[in-house]
Point group: C2
Chain length 616, copies 2
């Protein structure tokens, strides 16, 4: 199989395995873009810019272009000979067959929405009122809207002052079909739906739009019970794994900004449809929706411009809570239903952090608490003496497995924990599947273990003396699983990976330090550290403390609360007073911008190294 | 020229004169429908159902189908030989040329929006606030929406609590382009527009959607001054001249209901664009819109179902005032602007009547007043001792020239007044043009003059003895202008036309009588009769009293107030308190349904004849 046979300037048939998608490629289209059109999943953390290693594929048949300079550096000559490529760097030169690596097609698994229910006294914004509306007669020739409002206000004075126009359009038919026996769904005096009488639930949606995953809960607003839940990959992922890439994509053209909006809305609609179906409901019965997301997700969802989020001084277009008719944003629900979008705190402290603070509750008000959501961007709040201080740290994608040589999302086959003693390495993979890569918790474990085993020095330098360390292109890398153990492609942890983790953990460590300084507190005065988010839930606390990312406190002061943003969204959905609380949290939070400040940079520089403690 | 040459099952080239529109007809398409597609104006009062005589054309070249049975009865054999046809009854059988009669192409003229300005203390719902919004910095990294709201509320506390989402989408760009120097347009706490600083007016639209005409005023909300005004034919007219026909059309399919909505919205947008252009403004500067219309126009504008308006007990889908975002209804205006639609009183007493009552003001509260808007449907209110009683009478189209043999809209060449003394007839036409038909005021005059001249008896029977009466198909008709005077086609007033006027005036007369009975009043206790509407403005009061349509009162008790609905819409636009007044007028009005009631039918029967008075 020679490297070039035909011109990439014409299209070719491309087959993606193991999915079997068969599609005609466009001229000058990368395999990544072809796969996107074909609906074949290939992970792309950097959005196709050639900056990461997530889209690795093997061309098993047919010619492709010569490897790019970057791919020549990235792959070993053996790998290149076996036609390993990055899909975003590769063009087909003839009909070909492409094997998508297990790592590249891994769909995140662990983001499952927590099923553990939180209880809150239901006090929803939306309520239902069964009512009998008298038929009009020549003696009572009263308009349909007035007859409905009269009937409602007679039984429940002050309930209703207006009717959504779309509801009004269907009202005459509904009233006559059901002989005036209907149920009105009312939100703060506005009738947002009129439905036939029935005994079913009053469903609402709590949505947590994460950069990587979207969590959707279907909740019965009458009692706060979660009826069903679903987590899915954020369909925007094919436009880049992190918010910075997505900002860049959105800025590139209004059409792409619109596409990013449409993708997330379609994803939510699809999840909602499935959840409703599982309960024998229809999406048109959804009476209320609450959405939480980081600021970029928030802006893309509402189609607000994101460009100023990406440049100094990083301000949001909107930080207020937003109520918008579901139909105006494309969300399928009851004709007059609203979407409530939780307020942002600052440019990089979004509604998801507000939701998290709402979820962890006000019982912390008397305590000194650090609450953080670790991700590409890590949001940290310090609660101390009723004051709320918030910051955002640019921790990068390393802790989610991004920009790590063999990094991947949490999916079957991902190494999630590592233990090193002497020459022995013990790994554990998700689902006990053969290892295909390493996910965030594994990255943290590997770093801590390599440091504690002395393979990595306090400054982050990897020794070349360990039997599992090998040299590639002059740089050392630690073999976690060799070719034999890992189905042909070794899984390594490189010097560069260590550096990436140092940057990530350094940012978080420095952020906490600056917050403490600002409040005049010492580390040991922190009474509780709350770690939210998918990654935070699986992180090994001992490892995180070992490398200095988290404060060196007794482990019983830490709490891993999982998908707190989703829980916060649910609280705001089920209980209207909680929405008000979310607004006051966002409004009262003191935010300060770290980017480019001397004190953050100084703290960051010091936090890059690993702590010199031997107690772990 | 033979009658049938080719099959009407294929299309043909059709040319409409004098406009010169040239178009390929569709198989089995009537000339009326072909003309609609070509944009050639042909009046169609009945909406193409063959029930009226408004769409008369002459086929001057090419073959058409044999005349329909109805056309055989309607036209004289001479007219048929000259290829006079009704466009709605005729199909082309080959390429042909069609001369549209002057009557059928007449565009209403008299509906010009009154330029007489009414003064009201400006107190608009929408106000403008020039403001300086500080730029964000690393020390003041506050979101765009919060910076705008802070700036507004600092200068004018409590001004602003939210920003329209569409405005928000443009806010970041606008703020940065103008260095934070902007003008916020605020409506009840909601920012509905953010514009560059400037000294221009704050334009609003007052719209009166009539069945026949649409009147649009461009008003400066800052001072209540009318900047420009325009009247246009309601583009729905091609779907039928009266509301019943339009209800039928709308019910026939959702697409046609949508078309009717789109037509009226496009008409308003076009008028608004022209008005704005005349003032060097853009439609996107329109900050507020108020719309008044009869119930059917109201429902078609808001896309509410009209079917229940057309059947007993004739109730509206909505009688409440409606506020809707202009963009949601298709009206071009400022991004976040609203349209306020004035409330209806009942199924056939619409927002235009509410607007009229608003316009005539509350100074009548102490008096006993009858206020009526004469049209196909005549709305009458009796104001007595602070109580407001409203009814609707089915007066039919005769008084607007509809369903009258030679009837036409008020347009050049329409006979608008008639004087008969002995054998002599004196007519006056609009614009002193050669007579082409007879419009509403002429119809009323002709009836009164024929009655007063003894040509018509008190029961409505036309004598055959007058020299200008001729017999056609066994029925007498009075020649107002013969073939020579009227460019080839005589203008007559037939026995059937007299009957149509009797039905119309009888309904109005009976309506007033039932209202008086209900209030226990005698006719002479009416202190003022206010006649609104385009027709009412031109009606000869003496003629109207002579035939008994209006109460037999001294003429100084009558007031013809013209387009009061438009004035009412303007009041509600310029002054927010007037909107509240309109709502309380609509809510406090006591409506009773006349249709099918014994007492209306009895009064109607008695009112059909002409009064036996000789004092006029």
């Amino acid at each position: 199989m020679s490297r070039v046979r035909e011109s990439p300037r014409t299209g070719h048939w491309v087959t993606f395995e193991p999915g079997g998608q068969h599609i005609w490629s466009l001229p000058a289209e990368t395999l990544l873009d072809t796969a996107r059109r074909a609906g074949a999943r290939i992970a792309s953390v950097c959005g196709g810019r050639g900056l990461c290693q997530s889209c690795v594929v093997q061309v098993t048949q047919g010619p492709v272009e010569l490897p790019s300079q970057q791919d020549l550096e990235f792959f070993s000559s053996e790998e290149l000979a076996n036609n390993w490529r990055r899909a975003c760097q590769t063009l087909a030169c003839g009909d070909c067959r492409v094997e998508v690596s297990a790592r590249a097609r891994a769909v995140p698994l662990r983001a499952e929405v927590e099923s553990e229910d939180v209880w809150v006294r239901p006090d929803p914004a939306v309520r239902l009122y069964p009512v009998t509306v008298a038929a009009p007669t020549l003696e009572y020739p009263v308009a349909d809207d007035h007859r409905l409002m009269n009937a409602l206000n007679e039984k429940w004075p002050g309930t209703c002052s207006r009717i959504d126009l779309d509801v009004l359009r269907h009202l005459p038919g509904t009233l006559r079909t059901h002989g005036g026996q209907v149920v009105a769904i009312v939100r703060f005096g506005e009738v947002i739906g009129v439905v036939p009488p029935g005994k079913g639930p009053l469903p609402g949606l709590a949505v947590d739009i994460g950069t990587s995953n979207i969590g959707v809960l279907l909740v019965d607003l009458r009692n706060g019970r979660t009826l069903a839940s679903r987590a899915m990959e954020n369909p925007q992922a094919s436009y880049g794994g992190d918010v910075i890439t997505r900002i860049g994509k959105a800025r590139s053209s209004p059409e792409i900004q619109k596409q990013l909006h449409d993708l997330v809305v379609a994803g939510i609609n699809e999840a909602a449809r499935e959840l409703c179906e599982s309960q024998s409901l229809g999406p048109e019965q959804i009476a209320d929706v609450v959405v939480a997301g980081n600021t970029v997700m928030h802006h893309l969802f509402l189609q607000l411009p994101v460009e100023y989020l990406g440049a100094v001084p990083f301000v949001a277009a909107s930080a207020s809570a937003t109520d918008v008719k579901a139909r105006d944003i494309g969300i399928k629900a009851m004709p007059g239903a609203y979407v409530h979008v939780l307020p942002n705190i600052a440019g990089f402290v979004g509604g998801d952090h507000t939701a998290m603070l709402l979820a962890i509750g006000s019982d912390h008000e008397e305590k000194t608490v650090v609450a953080l959501d670790i991700g590409t961007n890590t949001e940290i709040s310090l609660i101390h003496k009723g004051r709320l201080l918030s910051i955002a740290c640019p921790s990068g994608p390393a802790l989610e497995g991004g920009h790590i040589r063999c990094g991947m999302r949490s999916a079957p086959g991902a190494i999630e924990s590592v233990e090193i003693s002497g020459d022995q390495v013990r790994i554990r993979t998700i689902g006990n599947a053969p290892p295909v890569g390493i996910c965030g918790s594994g990255v943290l474990d590997a770093t801590a273990q390599l440091y504690l085993a002395g393979v990595v020095s306090p400054t982050g330098r990897m020794t070349r003396k360990h039997p599992r360390v090998r040299i590639r292109d002059g740089h050392p890398e630690f073999v976690l699983a060799d070719e034999r153990e890992a189905q042909g492609k070794a899984i390594v942890f490189s010097q560069r990976d260590i550096r990436a983790v140092q940057l990530a953990k350094g940012a978080i460590q420095a952020g906490i330090q600056v917050l403490l300084e600002d409040a005049g507190l010492r580390e040991e005065e922190i009474e509780q550290v709350i770690i939210a988010g998918a990654f935070g839930n699986y992180v090994d606390l001992a490892s995180a403390v070992a490398i200095g990312m988290l404060p060196d406190l007794p482990l019983d002061r830490f709490a891993q609360v999982g998908n707190a943003a989703g829980i916060g969204a649910k609280l705001a959905l089920v209980s209207y007073p909680h929405r008000a609380t979310a607004q006051s949290i966002a409004a009262s939070s003191h935010y300060f911008e770290l980017a480019g400040t001397v004190r953050f940079n100084t703290a960051f520089m010091h936090a890059m190294g690993f702590p010199d403690h031997k107690k772990h």
